[in-house]
């Protein structure tokens, strides 16, 4: 029974966004080598799911790592641990970044022609199919919408969003422009034509790309890299990677028509992709978790993440420096 020895070890339970699983898997091995009495257990889910596991399903975790740091305040600060007045968390650590790329394979149509300047024209060719995750479900999904909207001003072509997105949905995904700000409204029912392929997450898009069902697919840089896809980097102005462009990104926001069951506000504003983590207040091994975080942002883990193109921000930023565990205080700074 392989689980037998694990039971005697101390378990470090991590719930993580699936996009971090690859570097985390490597880090796990290294960390366990350093701490032989520790069994690191990593569960991968969508970012919102990660938090829900703790907040809604009552799982106990030592560390949560999500692909959008802003989820931590929205979902955890207000929620209270049962039979107590304490919140699930009172701080986050913004510790990693990523960017959006356009992935393809060598059988993708016009793959040889594609460049950072013509990609939107190629994607809009009638025989080209491409995919991105469902914006109602996956953060990458709405980020793709923002990227494509940002492309309009960057390339100076106001038809890009229509050609790539709006026209291929019925009912269409509409945009409204108020001054500098563009607002994308996602309708209650997303119904794409067979040119645009939505899936609930990027994992479900990958088989489509690999089997040539679609030619292109928006992915996070780290995933494209880890899974050995060919990909094309997008300009900083639209790839949601650059902290300097934060202001520019925020000119696009996404609204959701459907709010019936909403438990959290679903509206999104363009922002750089930042990963966040926190140690829940009801963690069983908070100290060990802090130790692991230190390992990631300062120790060996940093290289592992960087090599996986999941670059670590150092020092990390937090919204509540005083709330941090003592171990982490030296490696974090208050948000600017």
């Amino acid at each position: 029974n392989p689980s037998a020895p694990a039971q005697e070890k101390k378990v470090l339970k991590i719930y993580s966004a699936t996009s971090l699983l690859y570097p985390l898997g490597i880090a796990e091995g290294r960390f366990e080598a350093l701490y032989p009495d520790v069994d690191v257990q990593i569960e991968g889910h969508g970012s919102i799911q990660v938090i829900r596991h703790v907040v809604e399903l009552g799982d106990t975790a030592d560390l949560l790592m999500v692909a959008d740091y802003s989820l931590i305040p929205t979902m955890m600060y207000v929620a209270k641990i049962p039979e107590s007045t304490q919140s699930y968390s009172s701080w986050y650590l913004r510790f990693s970044e990523n960017s959006i790329v356009l992935a393809y394979t060598n059988t993708s149509k016009y793959a040889s022609e594609i460049t950072a300047d013509n990609w939107y024209n190629i994607l809009s060719r009638p025989d080209v199919k491409y995919g991105f995750p469902n914006p109602m479900i996956d953060a990458l999904g709405y980020r793709c919408l923002i990227t494509m909207q940002l492309a309009e001003s960057y390339y100076g072509d106001a038809s890009i969003f229509d050609r790539l997105v709006s026209l291929h949905f019925n009912p269409p995904i509409l945009t409204t422009t108020v001054g500098e700000k563009v607002n994308i409204t996602v309708p209650e029912i997303l119904n794409p034509e067979p040119k645009v392929y939505l899936r609930s997450s990027s994992i479900h898009l990958i088989p489509l790309l690999e089997t040539g069902t679609i030619d292109y697919c928006f992915l996070y840089l780290s995933n494209a890299e880890q899974q050995n896809f060919s990909y094309m980097l997008l300009p900083d102005e639209i790839n949601l990677a650059s902290p300097e462009m934060a202001e520019h990104y925020s000119s696009v926001s996404v609204n959701y028509k459907h709010e019936r069951f909403a438990t959290i506000s679903l509206n999104r504003t363009g922002a750089p992709i930042y990963y966040g983590l926190t140690i829940p207040a009801n963690a069983k091994n908070p100290d060990l978790a802090a130790e692991f975080v230190k390992f990631i942002i300062y120790g060996e883990g940093k290289n592992i993440f960087n090599e996986a193109h999941q670059s670590i921000i150092f020092p990390a930023y937090t919204d509540n420096h005083s709330g941090l565990p003592a171990t982490l205080k030296p490696y974090a700074e208050e948000e600017p």
Binding site: R52, I189, Y197, P207, T213, F261
Partner: protein, 291 residues
């Protein structure tokens, strides 16, 4: 009160109901052997294990079930599930029943190997199954490409839903049909042939009706399995959304509270469908001891 209905010949079934209905009823514990009592308790155990989670879900969500009914996304997804599962079961029946018949009636080289392969689709993790189907039916695949010429596309169509559902659920119908065919007495098939029925007529008038109870049971399993499928369907055909896919979307984006009423609605409709289906199909079969 348990009433034993097999103390008596097969003929006794209907009769017994009568015997019991007006007879004095003895104490349940007194007339039952320890074996029957133990069996009942074990059976009750697993019944509770299966039903309690479902009941809790349904009851917990019952307050918001009306919201689910009035949400067109929910109803159309549930409809798509039932419709897809229905088509899938039909397709599986149309091909799987002949397969089961051949496997049950004929010997050929390598049969036991072929037979073992039938269970495989069940045990493959579902998204792996979805990927596997995509490799064979995707637009760039040999077969999928061929079908595309006839306008049959699998990705994001009802065909894809049906294909994914059929793949994961076919073995259940095939196995049930195989067992059911094996239980048809050869003497009865021979009698039909002696009365001038050829292979086809014997099959249609004798073998199939006699196996129908088992096949229907298998069809119901297959249908139910098809409804639950998420992994393979989500890869092959995220659209049109089935209940399982939609439920997952809602669960992921809006959380448990929003997802459970949909689930509860799905369960309630299914119970009704199963009850109706069982009532219809059981009327026709006599070989069954339960009447």
């Amino acid at each position: 009160m348990l009433k034993k209905n097999h103390e008596g010949t097969w003929a006794a079934r209907e009769a017994n109901a009568e015997v019991f209905s007006d007879g004095a009823t003895m104490s349940w514990l007194k007339i039952r052997s320890p074996f029957i009592i133990a069996s009942s308790l074990l059976g009750l155990g697993i019944m509770l294990f299966l039903v309690l989670p479902i009941a809790t879900t349904v009851i917990g969500a019952s307050a918001s079930i009306y919201d689910a009914i009035t949400d067109p996304r929910t109803t159309s997804a549930i409809w798509m599930s039932f419709y897809g599962a229905f088509l899938s079961t039909l397709a599986v029946a149309a091909t799987g029943i002949p397969l089961a018949y051949i496997l049950c009636h004929y010997q050929f080289y390598g049969k036991s190997f072929v037979d073992a392969l039938i269970d495989l689709p069940i045990l493959i993790p579902h998204n792996a199954a979805g990927i596997a189907i995509l490799t064979v039916l995707g637009p760039n695949s040999l077969f999928g490409g061929f079908l595309q010429n006839f306008g049959i596309v699998f990705v994001d169509t009802i065909y894809g839903i049906v294909a994914a559902m059929a793949f994961v659920s076919a073995p259940f119908l095939i196995r049930s049909a195989q067992e059911a065919f094996a239980a048809v007495p050869i003497a009865v098939e021979h009698a039909a042939k002696s009365l001038g029925a050829d292979d086809l007529k014997t099959f249609m008038h004798i073998t199939l009706p006699l196996a129908s109870k088992g096949i229907f049971t298998g069809g119901l399993l297959s249908w139910a399995r098809a409804i639950s499928e998420f992994g393979a369907v989500a890869i092959l055909a995220y659209y049109p959304k089935t209940a399982a896919v939609f439920l997952n979307d809602v669960f992921v984006s809006e959380g448990l509270g929003a997802a459970l009423p949909i689930n509860a609605l799905l369960i309630c409709i299914s119970v009704v469908i199963i009850l109706v289906f069982k009532r219809i199909t059981m009327g026709g079969t006599r070989l069954n001891r339960e009447r």
